[in-house]
Amino acid sequence: MRSQAMFFKARVGDKLADRVLQENLGKAKSKFVDARARAVAEYERDEGADFEALREAGKEIRNRTLANLDVWLETFEAKATERGGQVMYARDGAEICRLVTEIAQRHGVNKVVKSKSMLSEEAALNQALAAAGIQPIETDLGEYILQINDNEPPSHIIAPAFHKSKEQVAELFMRTHGSSKKSGIEEMTREARETLRGHFLSATMGISGGNFLIAETGSVSLVTNEGNGRMVTTLPKVHVVITGIEKVIPTLEDFATLMRLLPRSATGQHISNYVSVLTGVKGADELDGPEHLYFILVDNGRASLVGTEFQEMLRCIRCGACMNHCPVYQTVGGHAYGWVYPGPMGSVLTPLYTGIANALDLPHAATLCGQCSVVCPVKIPLPELLRGLREKQVEMDLRPWSERIALRLWGWVARRPKLYALATKIGVRYLNWLADGTDRIQVLGVAPEWTRGRDFPAPEGRTFRELYAERRTGQGR
């Protein structure tokens, strides 16, 4: 998928003005937040259960493999190969598309059922498969809704159609399935189930992502509620796993710990309905399961984070809690971010994976309120990483000339206390004059852009320095 992150500001304007979207976001936003809070509280009712300790453990598990990622990958690879899987690597989206197409052609596949894979979004795999004459079918309900809406990109990593109302889905189903228009969510879900069931039974290849790769056993784990992850890895004769090189974890015990964190952080469930740990291929006497298993382990920018100040981002387990709790995401939705990953984790990943210069606004699309790092199950310091990206923009001379001159000027003045005192004294009076006796400024004279969508609070009266000097000389009011 080509990043559109450079158009963030323009898109935000559109999203804020989109009444339907705003209504949909308003309806959805508190659901995940409330569910997570409830799940954490319920978890802590048990003796000895401390969610903070769990987060710390999750962080340590992820750090352990990242610290020696090369050796852990080799260990996973050896074990997965021993069990009959074939491990391949892809540097970027184009290589993913080439490998998957080759595998499909090798096995004479003309239809592929897909469980959710964000990496296949990074690679725009569906378009590549279609171009090769292979029909890709998204089977996660949210992803399916978007696929039949002309391959619309997802707006949330675990609820891809987060931005859509049921009325919009009903319209889409009527148009695509040629059926009567449904009004209830249950009826629509059944209609999708019936449509997709035929595809599950007839497709000869399944593609999934991977929540984790378990080094000890050479397994991939999949976490779903719908059961589509199980379908695409049980029925077709070929299973292709596409996942990032950073997803490897040591042991099954570590997996158990992470599974106490992931569902609670994502949807507020104690556990997701279906958690699968898949190892190797179907045995000779088995009645179901794939005969061929391929792992495509993808870099696409990940290796360049290893050993840098941004390595902590690689701990991410893709739960979506950061975006659920982000006031910016809640207001503009996921599409404004312009690439696969929205919200705070997207504002870190998009510039790092697609180029800092191509996503200049994203690290600034944060109030740095810190809520994302408070809820992150693996304690990624997202606000610090966003600040780090802002610093990189300055170091790389990517900020606009007006901002650079303004900051240089401010620095020059700030180093001259008398001049600074005079400048702020004049500034405060100028702002008070603009406020014209009220407590807010509607058009900020020197920077009108600032007040285009909000008022600027008027200063109280005099500068801090004036008040402080007054108090020191005992003339305080």
Partner: protein, 217 residues
């Protein structure tokens, strides 16, 4: 350079990998496998059965209890009749020999197909902490039986209820050696919240999960 070498090369450079520090990294891998240390776990107390029953309810599974395996078919027939579901099912070959016909059920032991209405399975063990079934695939315990039919009925011996997922892994290592192709943890019927974050039961998998606890087996 091929993709594998290229990616691993860059990771090694980024980590400062040398011949000198490689043994320490390999030792950390071996140490992790040897220790298999567990993270923080909730203490569930002694009554795992009560916890399992409660959590199964949270997951929207229904629960019945019988004394012996031979009573299972009648319990299945009763459940299906109460819900006006067809008295026919596909069952794990592992349980082919139970007295199904005596209970008036037409049960076939084979791989599940897309139009089977009821699937009957057992479980490798069951996890009290979350009301979860742990199933392991094998020739006589195929995976699709718990997935394709609209109704999934599972036999759960009380002796196989363990506290947490870690205990399930320990059992698997002890009894199976290495992991089977598919270990599936199943917690209630399939569901989705993808339209307006409203939970709907019965996405792609079963609409109903019914657990039959068996006291003596």
């Amino acid at each position: 350079m091929d993709a594998r070498e290229d990616i691993l090369f860059r990771v090694r450079v980024a980590l400062g990998r040398t011949d000198a520090n490689r043994p320490a990294a390999a030792a950390d891998v071996q140490a992790a496998f040897a220790a298999r240390s567990q993270g923080p776990r909730p203490q569930l107390g002694a009554d795992l059965l009560a916890r399992f029953r409660h959590e199964s309810g949270v997951q929207s599974s229904s629960v019945d209890e019988v004394a012996t395996l031979d009573e299972v078919p009648a319990a299945v027939a009763r459940y299906l009749a109460e819900r006006q579901l067809p008295q026919r099912a596909v069952v794990w070959p592992k349980y082919a020999a139970l007295p199904w016909a005596q209970a008036g059920l037409a049960v076939e032991a084979r791989a599940a197909q897309g139009d089977d209405a009821v699937g009957i399975t057992g479980c490798f063990c069951a996890i009290a902490e979350t009301g979860t079934l742990m199933t392991c695939s094998a020739p006589d315990t195929p995976a699709a039986t718990s997935l394709l039919p609209e109704t999934h009925i599972a036999i759960v011996p009380l002796s196989r209820i363990v506290a947490g997922m870690e205990d399930g892994w320990a059992l698997a290592r002890a009894e199976l050696g290495e992991l089977p192709r598919a270990v599936n943890f199943i917690s209630g019927p399939s569901r989705t919240g993808d339209i307006e974050q409203t939970i709907v039961i019965g996405a792609h998998g079963p609409y109903r999960v019914h657990l039959i606890l068996v006291r003596d087996c």
